[in-house]
Amino acid sequence: MRRLACLLLLLPAAALADERRSGSTYMSAETQAMQKDDTANPGMLWVQDGAALWSRKPAADKKACADCHGDAAASMKGVAARYPAFDAEQGRPVDLATRINLCREKHQQAAPFAAESESLLGLSAWLGLQSRGLPISPDPDPRSEPFREAGRRLYEQRMGQLNFACAQCHDDNAGKRLAGSVIPQAHPTGYPIYRLEWQGMGSLQRRLRNCMTGVRAEPFAYGAPEMVELELFLMSRAAGMTVETPGVRP
């Protein structure tokens, strides 16, 4: 009883009547089943790629990720649930893909992986899997706060020829339909995802670029500061929700 009381105290008031829903809950039963079954979820193919890369040396005299970080199940548990996170050297928050590439360059003396390359998606999916089932826990570093606020402003700001803000779809009209698709609440629970429409894997930023071109805005580039700010804001909006990586989306 005492334990329960402590737990309840820890929960923010909103969580008691949490109306937040992961995008996966809007999917058909078939697509949900595909996500849940690791032998039917195509995202697991990328996870396998990531697991192989984790322990492969980029060159004979260079270290593999595993040589420094060991067993990912232990060292990377909860990491993806916390990103983007503040990086003191960069002086700003970095997303998980950038974090991986920083290790490639700094610690492996290897060329960074291209955005949306199979290798980067594979490693991101592999790291994401190590947080599956854990709550999204945004970076607590106070230095990230101004960037998160910038993300909130971007989220609420109208953009593109159609002049829509993210919030108008994902807060005001979530659960309704836009043509054939349900408008989800835009929680980044399952990234990177295998999207059936893409017939492939894609990052959260690819998803955001889709939404931006959807309102005929010039999408931010992969890794652009605005992208990281939006990611930061979306992660704090989804704080406490469960990581589902690798997600499947229609």
Binding site: D37, D38, T39, A40, N41, P42, M44, L45, Q48, D49, L196, Q199, G200
Partner: protein, 106 residues
């Protein structure tokens, strides 16, 4: 080698109907789509899948350009005896991959 995901129950009762699921990483390029330079991309698909159970074919499928990338196939068979399932995918450009899985039947 393409990555695969294969789901065969590790054990089953004799006579039980079991479900087998397979997934393979493959672009299934249709041969009808233009690439970045406007030229049609050459067709590159898996054309045939077959599953044998202790050497006997129990399921086969022909695949065509309308099949999505990373084809997923699920089918059922009857567990008759302990042994090995052999899955073979063949396709354009000499594509051929074989994977196996074992089952123990009691």
């Amino acid at each position: 080698m393409a990555r695969t995901l294969i789901n065969v129950p590790a054990s089953a009762k004799r006579g039980e109907v079991i479900e087998i699921k397979t997934l393979i990483q493959h672009p299934m390029e249709t041969g009808f789509r233009p690439g970045a330079n406007g030229r049609i991309l050459a067709r590159d698909i898996i054309t045939k899948f077959a599953c044998t159970y202790n050497g006997e074919e129990v399921f086969a499928a022909e695949l065509f350009p309308a099949t999505a990338a990373n084809p997923f196939l699920a089918f059922t068979t009857v567990a008759s005896e302990s042994g090995t399932f052999r899955f073979t995918w063949t396709g354009d450009n000499g594509f051929k991959q074989t994977e196996t899985a074992t089952i123990s039947v009691t």
